[in-house]
Each structure stands twice: as C-alpha cells, then as structure tokens.
C-alpha cells in the first residue's frame, strides 16, 4: 500500500503546485491609468495572454534594402533591435516583446497599445539627424539645363501648353503660382509661421545666435537668369533662403519620381544633395500647396550620433519644439563647424527631410533645438523619444502588422471559455453515462488534466493565444481518448472472465503501446508546428504539446491511481467493476 500512498501524495503535490502556479498574485507591471502608463502592482492570474486575447499590436519589421543593399544585415539588425527596444521602453508599453526573427526581421509585440499608428511611427522612424549647410553657389540653377534635357527624354512634352519661356523673370508664367512671393522683398505667405523653414529656428546656447535674416540673400537668387521651360526649371521656384526652392504639390509628386532615376541622380550638382522639406506650406489666397526643396552640401557638419539628450518643449512663440544636447566631443565639433560657417544657412535634416533651416549667427556649442512647425506636442514628444534612443542603423519597413482591439480580445476569451465549459460538460456527461464509476475516475483525471495544462502554461510563461484556446478545447476532447482506450481494454479483459484487479492491470498494460504511439506522433506534429508557425500558431503548438504531456500523465498515472485506491479494499475488488 505504500505504493498507493506515494502515488496519492504525488497527485496531491501536483494539484497543490498547479493551484499555486495559477493563484492570482501581485505582479509588478506597467498599467495604463488615466491615459498614462505607470509602473504598478496588480493582482492577476499569472497566465500570459497573447495579443489576440488582450488586444494590442504585432509588427514584423524587415530591413528595407530597396535603397541600397545592407552589407551585414544580421549585425545591423542587432543594433537596430537595441534602438527599437529603447524607443518602446520610452513609449511606455506594458510587457513589450522585441525579438529577432531570422537574419533580417524584427518581431515587435506591443500589448495594449491603443494608437497603433503612432506606435508604429515611433518604432519605424529612422531618426537619422543631420545638420547640413545650404548651397550658396546656385548649383541647381547651373544643373537645370542638364536636368531638363534628361527629363525631356524621359517624358516627352513636359512643357505645359501656355507656358511661355520668361527668361530672367522670377514671376511664374502660369497664373496662381508663387510668383509674387518670390520677388525680392515680398512677404511670405501668412502660413509661414507653421512652415518647416521657419525663421529663427536653429538657435544656439545663448538663444540668439541664429536668426534667418534672409532678405539680404534673396535678391541674388531672384535676380538669377533661369530657363523656365524644362520639367525641372518650370517646377522649381527659388525660395527666400540660398539653396531653398518651392515646388507645388503636384509637381512635387512628379519631381520625386524623376529624382529617383539614376540618370537624373548622375546629373545632379556634384557634392550637393537635394532634400525635401518635411511639411507643406499652404497659400490659402491662391489655394495652392507648396513644398520646399533644398540644395545642401553633401557633407553634414554634424549628425545625431553625438546627441545625448532630447526634450520636448512648448514655447508660446515658437510653438512645440525639441531641444537637444550634444556630448562634449559633438559640442566641440559643432562649435568648430558652425564657427566656420557664420552667416551661412544651416538645415536640420531628419531622415532626409529638412525640418528647419536658418542662418548661423554665431558658433553653436552643445545644445540646439528643432522647431516642429505646426506639429503637436505629441509629435515633439515622439521626436524626442526617437532622438534619445538613437538612429536606426538600417532602414526598416513593415512586413506585417496585426492589431486586435481590446474589446475583441475580451470577446474571444469569453467565447473561448464558453466553448471550453460546454465541451467539458458534454464530455463529462458522456463519460459518466457510459462508464459510470470508472467514468467518474476519468472525469477526475480530466479536471486534473485541465488544471495541469493551465499550470504548465503559466509555469513555462507560455502565451495563451486564441488558437491556443481552441487547442485547449480540442485537447479536452482528445484527452479522454486515453481513458476510453484503457476502459475498453479493461472491459475486454473482464469479458474473458479475468478478476477485476487483473483485468484493470492488463487493460492498462495493453493500452500502453497505443497511447505512447499516438502521443508521440501528435507531439512530433506539435513540434513541427512550433518550428514553422508564427505568433498565434506557435501558441497553439505549445498548448497542444503541453496538453499531450498532461494527458499522458493523467491517463497512465492518475486514472490508474484512482483505480488502485478504489480496488485497495478487497470487498470492492470482489464485486463487479462499475465500468
């Protein structure tokens, strides 16, 4: 009987351990309270729910190699993951997961995110910050005939009807363009306050070293003779700063396509780069939307790699902005470079888009600022986050997203639990009616099976997904199979006239092979599913695998022990077995 006692003890211990593993406990996690994430302790059952059950966002990012191949993608990705992780930590998400998948992908899981678009922007932003001096040599004007010639070959007839060449004139021949604005001394559109080229936007320590007194330069650019009949020269209107131009929104789309062409790129002024402004400028009186185009020196005088801190700020005059601090080395370099470029114009370029451009009034040291134009404070906050976390070493693009709303997740849990409850009730009824007392043993084993499965999932810190929940429901049906196999064998042995105890022993012995083989083959399938599945399907595979282990144990150990305990009494062993 010591064997029986030992078995009962093992079962009792397992039940206790399972209950303990599933008991609601206090855990420290980040929770959302009144719209902000705070670290707090909460009471909950320690079962991790997948994104499809609790709501949230799943992102698969991959290296974007469309703009040039990446030399060592795996290594670059490792660095990118660190950056992404830092950014997410600052975004404040409860239990995020950032994981490398293969050599060129990152999986990002953000449970409970309610603004997926913003989260994605923060994760994906390259955040490559450059400071570049604008061109003052009219390089673009000199290249325009060349560019026009190539463009003419590419798309014949770029000259719109009625576009008369107006050499030497700055007023555009077409009505409704920026003409008036571009004449020397003309006022800029009222909307210029929200414009990316905002005045007074790059300021040094003292707060007064840079101011774009641009009128002095304007006269040069306006006085230049320019051909205006090519695809480029027609679209490009000189702006108020050296190296700055304006393009209407429809022309912007057209020019972008042209600029991507390799032959156009080859014909660009050497040592210069073209960058678009980050925002558009509306001219409400004419109903035209413009975008700024900048010609910049190719070599940045400073990059974001020296940045140590960035903070969002709200200023009543300048609107929202981000102030940043450079480290000591960066500050020294910045001081040198800006010192050499006093009275030149500097553009702050983020991810190849010009945020601001202004004149350098005096050398700038370790700190500066980026005005957000008309951007919201949240945009300033997000920019500060990505600048602080550093630039992504490689561009990432979204390969896959899944977003599940929290309400759908809650519905799924409710429905899944309902299905589980009904399945269990039906199965219990079938077993009790068909096998009577032995059926009750099987039901006991089945309940223990469910408990063990959940406890193991909690113990392995596995994630319960919606397909996983389906797998659990299904596995309850399959788990009784072992018991059915055993009971049918016991019945057969009883039919052959064997005494009850012998029949039970033989029944278990004969059913063993079939149970082992079916369990192993199903387990192998589950392992393959885990290996080749993603996200929710992996959750399913884990549930399936855990279920097999639990069912194997409950059938061969628990049901067996119930029989042993029942048949321990000699009088019961003499009576016919209720099976």
């Amino acid at each position: 009987m010591s064997n029986l006692k030992y078995r009962l003890l093992v079962i009792a211990a397992l039940v206790a351990a399972s209950l303990w593993a599933l008991f609601p406990r206090t855990v420290v996690e980040r929770v959302k309270r009144n719209g902000v994430f705070v670290t707090d302790t909460v009471q909950r059952v320690p079962l991790r729910r997948g994104l499809d059950l609790q709501g949230g966002m799943h992102l698969t990012l991959e290296i974007d190699q469309s703009k040039g191949a990446v030399v060592n993608p795996s290594e670059a990705l490792d660095r990118a993951i660190t950056v992404v992780r830092n950014r997410i930590d600052e975004l404040g998400v409860a239990e995020p997961i950032v994981q490398k998948a293969g050599d060129d992908r990152v999986l990002v899981e953000l449970p409970g995110v309610d603004d997926p678009e913003r989260a994605q922007a923060v994760v994906q932003k390259a955040a490559f910050l450059e400071f570049q001096i604008t061109d003052e040599s009219n390089a673009l004007e000199r290249a325009l005939p060349r560019l026009d010639a190539i463009a003419a070959q590419v798309q014949p007839g770029p000259v719109a009807p009625g576009a008369t060449p107006a050499a030497g004139g700055t007023v555009s021949p077409r009505p409704g363009t920026l003409g008036g604005l571009l004449t020397p001394g003309a006022a800029r559109p009222d909307t210029a306050a929200r414009d990316s080229t905002g005045r007074d936007s790059t300021r040094g320590d003292s707060g007064r070293s840079v101011a774009s007194t641009d009128s002095a330069r304007r006269s040069d650019s306006a006085g230049r003779p320019r051909p205006t009949n090519g695809a480029f020269s027609k679209a490009v209107q000189p702006g108020s700063l050296p190296g700055q131009y304006f393009v209407t929104e429809p022309d912007y789309v057209r020019l972008q396509a042209l600029l991507d062409r390799p032959d156009i790129q080859a014909a660009m002024p050497p040592g210069k780069v073209l960058r678009w402004g980050a925002d558009t400028i509306a001219d409400p009186t004419r109903g035209v939307i413009y975008r700024a185009l900048y010609v910049l020196d190719g070599r940045p005088i400073m990059t974001g790699e020296y940045l140590t801190d960035a903070r969002p700020e709200s200023d009543p005059v300048e609107g929202n902005k981000v102030t940043f601090t450079l480290n000591r080395e960066g500050g020294r370099r910045f001081q040198n470079e800006t010192g050499r470029h006093i009275r030149d114009y500097m553009a702050v370029v983020l991810d190849q888009r010009v945020m601001t451009a202004a004149q350098i009034q005096s050398a700038i040291g370790t700190s500066g600022q980026i005005t957000m134009g008309g951007g919201t404070l949240q945009r300033a906050q997000d920019l500060a986050i990505v600048l602080r976390a550093g630039a992504l070493p490689v561009p990432l693009k979204v390969a896959e997203t899944r977003e599940v709303g929290a309400s759908l997740g809650a519905d799924s849990i409710r429905n899944g639990l309902l299905a589980l409850g009904i399945a269990v009730a039906l199965i219990v009824a079938v077993m009790l009616v068909y096998y009577r007392l032995s059926g009750a043993f099987a039901v006991g084993a089945l309940l223990l099976y469910i408990l063990l499965t959940l406890a193991m999932l909690a113990g392995f810190n596995a994630t319960l997904t919606l397909p996983g929940l389906a797998g659990l429901v299904l596995s309850v049906g399959i788990a009784v199979d072992g018991n059915v196999l055993v009971f049918e064998r016991i019945r057969e042995e009883l039919d052959r006239g064997k005494p009850v105890r012998t029949a039970v022993d033989e029944g278990f012995r004969h059913a063993l092979n079939a149970i082992v083989d079916t369990s192993v083959t199903t387990a192998l399938t589950a392992v393959v599913l885990y290996q080749y599945g993603t996200g929710p399907v992996r959750g399913f595979a884990v549930t399936l695998l855990v279920g097999i282990v639990a069912s194997f144990f409950t059938v061969l150990f628990v049901t067996r022990t119930f029989f042993m305990a029942y048949l321990a009494s000699p009088t019961r062993a003499q009576r016919p077995l209720s099976i």
Binding site: E400, L408, Y434, D517, T525, Q531, G533
Partner: protein, 322 residues
Amino acid sequence: MLRIFHDTRFDFIRWWRVAAALTVAFILAGLASFAVQGGVNYSVEFTGGTLQQVEFRQPPRVDDVRATLDRAGIEGAEIQQFGSPTEFSIRARGGDEGAGAEAASRRIQRALQKRYGASEVRVVRTEAVGPRVGAELRRGAIVAILISSLITLVYLAIRFEWRFGLAAVLSSAHDVLVTLAFLKLMHLEVSLTVVAGILTLLGYSLNDTIIIFDRVREDLKQKRQEPLRATLNRAINETLPRSVLTHATVLAATVALLLFAGEVLRPFAWVMTFGIFVATFSSVYVAGPLLLLIERRFPRALPEPRAARAAALRTDAPVGAR
C-alpha cells in the same frame, strides 16, 4: 454496463471499393472547383494584403461601404458580413511595394471614419501582410506538413514497420487532399489557424490509424493462421467502441467551438469537425486497404506459407474467424 458496437463482426474492408469511389469523387469535386474558381482560397496572411474587422454602431449598407472604399482608391475590396449585422470584414490587396498593405489598411480606416464618423465605426482587428512574408508563410506551411509526414513515417517505421508507416502516411496525404476539397467546397479561407487545424487533423487521423494498427500488430504477434485482411477487419471491429466514443467526445468539443467560440475561430472549428469524419473514414477505408495493397506488393516474410496468404488476399475470404 452500457455498451455500443460491442463484439461486432462487420466486414469493413469489403466495402473499400465503394469507399474509394466516394472519396475519389469528393476529391475530384474539389479539384473541379479548383479548376473553375481558381486555386486555394488563401487568407491575407498568405497572399499579402490587408484584412480589417470593422464594427459599426448602426448596420451600414454594404454597397455604401464599398462605394466609400472605392472613392478612397481601395479597389476590389472584399466586404463580408462577419458574425453580427454590424460587423464586417474587409479584405484588400496591398500596393506593389512592401509597405503597401499596411498603408492600405490605414487608408481604409480613415475613409470609413470620415464617411461614418469616428465614433460610429471601430476597427477591432487589422492584419496587413507584405507579399514576401505571405510567400514565405505559404512555403512554411507546406514544409511543415511535409516534414511532419516524414517524421511520422520514420517513427512508425521504427515502432511498427515500414509498411504500416507508409500506409499511415499515404492515408494522411489523402486527408490533406480531402480537407482541401472540403475547404474549397465550403468557401473557407485557408489561414494560418486553418493550417494548424489541418495539421491537428492529420495528427488525429493518424491516432486513429495507429490505434487500429496497434491491434493488428498485437494480433500478428499471436501468429494466427489467417490472412492480414481478416486481422485488419477484426482490429477495426475490436476498436470500434473506442472509436465511436472518442469521436463523440471530440465532436462535442469541436461543435462547441463551432457554435460558441466566435467568428474568428469558425474556419478552424469547421476543419476540425470535418476532420473527425475524415479521420474515422480514412483510418478504416484508406489506411486499411492501403496496408493490404502494400502487403500484396511487398509481402512480408512470415513463418506461415506465403502462397496461402497471397491467395487469401485475392479471394474474398470470410472474416472474423476467431
């Protein structure tokens, strides 16, 4: 005690030609559907594109939703009611670029919120998959099924012998074909979860086959002088009560899933419910006859006279001679 199908002596194998005709007809119907309507109905996970599950406060008109999406430049979107009359699923192809799918999903969301008002419509689920990921997943799913078949074959070859393993794996292949035909005829979408369902079904069907083969293995060890066909028939009859009971309990689980687990899991529940019937059918009428065919082609060396066995296989010998 309550007993069903106890001590039966059905000659299951006798009907194998009828069964084969039935299953071939079903598969052909599926193939014909493939030929007429194009290939497998893959979900966005496999094809790339976007899927959005949208909840409206008031039931909208479907053509109005469609018109709204057309105006937003989302072409050929598939709009389906999803469960309740206020919920819809919207499927659309992404653009050509990698980020196309993701951008399209945002466009759909904006267009709907603009048309119906932000508080009237809520996107509860979004999936956007680039074409490259889709292609990889498709390959992964096929590789998963092939590898799991191969591993099973090896395992059964070790635990039983290669003839049993081959019969079991070929019968699994049959299950996949029949299930694909079923999915096609039911217009169900093949998603990752459905692939998981197919693999589970394979495992389940294999279980059934193994349990019958386990009986055959046991009976063969007793070296009765009877043809394999008789042994097989007896094994099926002996395991019949177990089969009926287990299928009943699993059916209870899958029907519960089908009815209560919600729209997202419904295709999976369909596959599994169908799978129970496939498993029952194929373990008796596909795996069994296949084993007999393999055995006839490659007879095993047994102590009993081979000629007698071969003769017994050809003639319709009486069954269940205990």
